[in-house]
Amino acid sequence: MELLSVENVTFRYPNAASDALRDVSFSVSEGQWAILCGLSGCGKSTLLRLIKRELAPYGKFSGRILFRQQAGSDSFAVLSENVSGAPALPRVSDRESAESIGIVMQDPESQIVTDTVWHELAFGLENLGLPSETIRRRVAEMAAFFGMESWYHRKTYELSGGQKQLLNLASTLAMNPRLLLLDEPTAQLDPIAAADFRNVLQRVNRELGVTILMAEHRLESVLPLADRIFLMDRGAILQSGDAAGLVKYLSETSHAMTAALPTATRVYLALAGSSVVSGETTTAGDDAGIPLTVRDGRAMLRSIPCPAGEKQKDGEHRIPGEETAKAFSAKESAAVLSSKNVRFRYDRNLPDVLAEASLSLRAGEHYCLLGGNGSGKTTFLAVLAGLLKPYAGAVHLFDKKMSAYAPGTLYRNNLALLPQQPRDVFTEKTIREDLEKAFLRDAESESSNTMNALCERLGITGILDSHPYDVSGGELQKAALAKVLASRPKVLLLDEPTKGIDVRGKQELADILSELTREGTAVLTVTHDAEWAAEHADRCGLLFDGQVISEDAPGAFFDGNAYYSTAANRMTRGILPGCVTVDDILNRYRGEVPQ
C-alpha cells in the first residue's frame, strides 16, 4: 500500500534559469526501502526537502505530494499541492507532518540542537507537547534500541561523527515517524561508521517497519539493501524499479552513474559485454543473476573460466603496480618532504598521537595515506604542513627544517594544505574575490592570466561569482584547490578530498592531481577511500598506532591487506590473485574483453 505519492512535481528556485525538478512522479509503499540516486545537483535534496514540508525551499512549485494519513487507512492527505481541478483532499496537519515524516541530513553537526545526548533525544518529543512520563519511556526505548546507554549522559560535542549521526537518527525516530527521509546520511562518515549506520538503518527498516526514502550517490553498499531505486538526472526521474532494472538501464544508456555501481556489478557489466560471462551465469532475461555484493561477485568469477594463461602464472603471483614501485625507488633521492621519527601529542598528559611516524614524499608522486578513524591522519598532515610542532623528530621540506623557513616563505611556492572542510579556505563573499586576493599576493605572476587559466583548467569559471556556501561539494572542492594552488606549491597536502563527492567529482579530482604530479608536484592525500587510492595513487601507506606501516605501491599494498582493502581485491582473493581495481580484473581477461 502506498505511503507517499509524488504527482507531477515541478519546481524552480527563484531567479533560476531552469527547473530543479521536472514533472517528477513516483510513489513509495509502506515498509519499503527506496533510494533516489543520481549525481550531485540532480535534484535529490530538493525533492526530499519538498516532501519534508517544514524544510520546503521557496520557489515555484506545481504538482502535489500526498501522504497516507494513518497506517492502513484508505485516504490520502495533501502535504503540498498546486494543481487545478484535482479532487479536494484534506491537508496533513503540521503536527502530523512533524511527527510522521522524519529527516536526517548530510552534516551530522548542524542537526544537533542541544548540548546533551538525552536532551537531544527528548527535543522532538518536547515539541510535540508530550508529558515527561511518555518522553522518559520513548527516550529510554530509543537509547536501548541504538545501544546508546554508555553515552546517554555525554555532551553532544564530545561525540564522534558516527555517534552524532546515530544520535540524529535516534532523535528523529523517537518521534515515531512512519516515513524516514535520508539525505546522503553517510557522506561525512568514515567507512566503518558508515557501515554501522547502514546496519542500524537496516534494523529500523526490518524490525520497526519504518519506510525509508534515501538520497544517495554511492551505490556500492546500499544497492543490495534497496527495494526500489529511482534514478534522477537533471531534475527528472529517468528510471524506477529494482536493482536489476537500474543496472540494465545504466548499462544500456552508459549513464555517468554506471561508475557508482558496486564493483561486482561493474565487472559483471564489462564481462557481459563480451563472451566471458556465458549463458548459464546470467542472461539478459535473468535479472536475479546480476551480482551486487562481493559475495555475488566471487560466485560469478568462480563460475566462469579463468583467463587464458592465468593457471601457468599462479606460481609467480604477479603484482600489478610493481613497475611503478620500482620506478619510484629509483627516484629515492628526490624526497621533497620527509618526516623522521616524529612524535606528537596534544597535551602533556595525553598519549602520543604520532609515535615515530616517518614518511618521505618524492617529487612527482601521489602518495595516499590511509588509516582508521582517529588514527591521527589529520594530525600527521598538520604536522607535515608545519601547523603543529612535533616534540621529537623533525620534518624537512627540501632538506631544510620546517622551523628554518622564515615567515612568508613556507606557504609561498613551497607547500599548501587543502583542509577537510574546503569552505574553510574561503573568507570573501564570492569565490572570485577570494581567488583574486590569493593570486594578487603572488606579485611576480601575471595574476589575472594565471588565475583564469587555472580556473579554466579546473572547470570552475561558471561558479566564480557564487558565494562559497552556495555551490556543491565537488565544485567547492575544486575552487578550494584553485585557491590553494595560487601559491604554486611544490608539495600539496590534501585531507579527505573525496569525502561526500560523487563519482564524477572524484574522477575529475584524480585527473587534476595526475596532471599536477606529471608537472612535478608532490601530492600527499589522506583518505579513507580505498577504492580511489587503489586507482589513483603511486604509493600507499597505512597510519596505525602513530606510525606509518606497510608502505607500498597500491597493488602490493591492498593485495597484502586482508580486510582493509578494496572491494575488487576482496572479490578476487584466491580466484585472481593480485587484483585491486576493476581495471586489474578486466585486464586479466584482456583479449577476451573488447577494449
Partner: protein
C-alpha cells in the same frame, strides 16, 4: 556529595542560597568562619584539587582586601600608622580581614556548588520557570564549543594557504579580521541549518512541554525543610540583634546568650551539611566493602 547530587536540584540551590545570603548579610565573624570551614572541609573530603594558581589568587585577593580597606575607611579608634596624614587603624584592618575571608568563603562555596549539582542539572530549574530561556541556554552551550573548534580549524586552514604567514603584522591583523568575518558567516549559516533541524522536529508547534528529568520526592521535601529550619533559627538570632557586631570606632560584639549560640550552631550545621554527608557516605561505603 552524592547525597546532594542525587537530590532534586532545588535542594542544593536552597542550601547555597541560605549559606551565601546569611554570611553576606550577617557580616559576623563566627558565621564567616563556619562558611569558610564548611567549604574547605568539603573540598578536602571530596579530594578536590585546587591549582596552585587558584590558591595564590585567593590569598592575594584576601591580602589585597584586608590591606586596602583601612585606606578607604578611617573609622577605627586605634591607629597603627598615619598615611598621608590619614590614620591607618587596627579596626579597619580587622574589618578588611573579615571582608576578605567572607569573599573567599563565597567563592569557595560556588566551587562546592559545582560538586553538589551534576552539570546536566545546572540549568534544570530554569526549565520550569522560563522554558524559552532554558532552551536558549542549552543551544548556546551546544554552540560555543562548536564555534571554538571551527575558529581553530579556520585559522589553521588560512595559515596553510599562507594568509597569516606574513612578516607584516598589519597584514596579519587584517587577515585575522577577515577570518573573524568568515566565522560570523559560518555562524549565521549554522543558525539557519540548526533552525531547519529544529523545525523538522516540530519546533514551533503549539503546546511545547519541557522534559523533567528530576522528580521531586518526599525526601527532597524533608531536606529542604531541614535546611530552611536551620536557616530560620539563624535568621531569628540575626533579626533580634544577638549576632550584631560593630567595628567602628571600637569592636563591640553583642553578648552571647542561648539564642545567639543556637543561631551560630544552626548556621555551622548548615555549612557542614555537605561535609557531613560526604563523611557519612565514605563510612557507609567502607562498611559495605568490608562485608563484600
Amino acid at each position: 556529595m552524592d547525597t546532594f547530587r542525587r537530590r532534586h536540584p532545588l535542594v542544593p540551590l536552597t542550601l547555597l542560597l541560605s549559606v551565601l545570603l546569611l554570611v553576606m548579610f550577617a557580616q559576623t565573624p563566627t558565621l564567616t568562619v563556619s562558611a569558610f570551614l564548611g567549604a574547605v572541609l568539603f573540598l578536602c573530603v571530596t579530594k578536590t584539587k585546587l591549582s596552585v594558581k587558584t590558591v595564590l589568587c585567593y590569598l592575594l585577593l584576601w591580602v589585597l582586601v584586608a590591606v586596602t580597606n583601612p585606606l578607604f575607611s578611617t573609622g577605627g579608634a586605634t591607629p597603627i600608622v598615619f598615611v598621608n596624614g590619614r590614620p591607618y587603624t587596627k579596626e579597619a584592618l580587622l574589618y578588611g580581614i573579615h571582608l576578605g575571608a567572607m569573599l573567599i568563603a563565597v567563592l569557595l562555596w560556588f566551587r562546592c556548588d559545582r560538586l553538589l549539582v551534576p552539570e546536566e542539572n545546572r540549568f534544570y530549574l530554569f526549565g520550569g520557570i522560563a522554558p524559552k530561556l532554558a532552551l536558549l541556554i542549552t543551544t548556546v552551550l551546544r554552540f560555543v564549543p562548536l564555534l571554538r573548534r571551527r575558529a581553530g580549524e579556520m585559522r589553521a586552514a588560512q595559515t596553510a594557504v599562507g594568509v597569516y604567514d606574513d612578516p607584516d603584522w598589519i597584514h596579519r591583523t587584517k587577515s585575522s579580521m577577515t577570518t573573524m568575518s568568515a566565522l560570523t558567516t559560518w555562524s549565521l549559516e549554522h543558525a539557519i541549518d540548526a533552525g531547519a533541524a529544529m523545525k523538522a522536529r516540530g519546533y514551533g508547534l503549539p503546546g511545547r512541554t519541557t522534559y523533567r528529568t528530576c522528580r521531586f520526592r518526599a525526601m527532597d521535601g524533608v531536606c529542604i525543610t531541614v535546611i530552611l529550619a536551620l536557616t530560620a533559627v539563624t535568621v531569628v538570632a540575626l533579626a533580634t540583634g544577638r549576632l550584631d557586631i560593630s567595628y567602628y570606632p571600637n569592636i563591640i560584639t553583642a553578648p552571647a546568650d542561648t539564642l545567639s549560640r543556637c543561631g551560630v550552631t544552626a548556621y555551622a550545621v548548615l555549612c557542614l551539611l555537605p561535609f557531613l554527608t560526604s563523611v557519612k557516605e565514605a563510612i557507609r561505603w567502607s562498611f559495605y566493602r568490608s562485608k563484600m
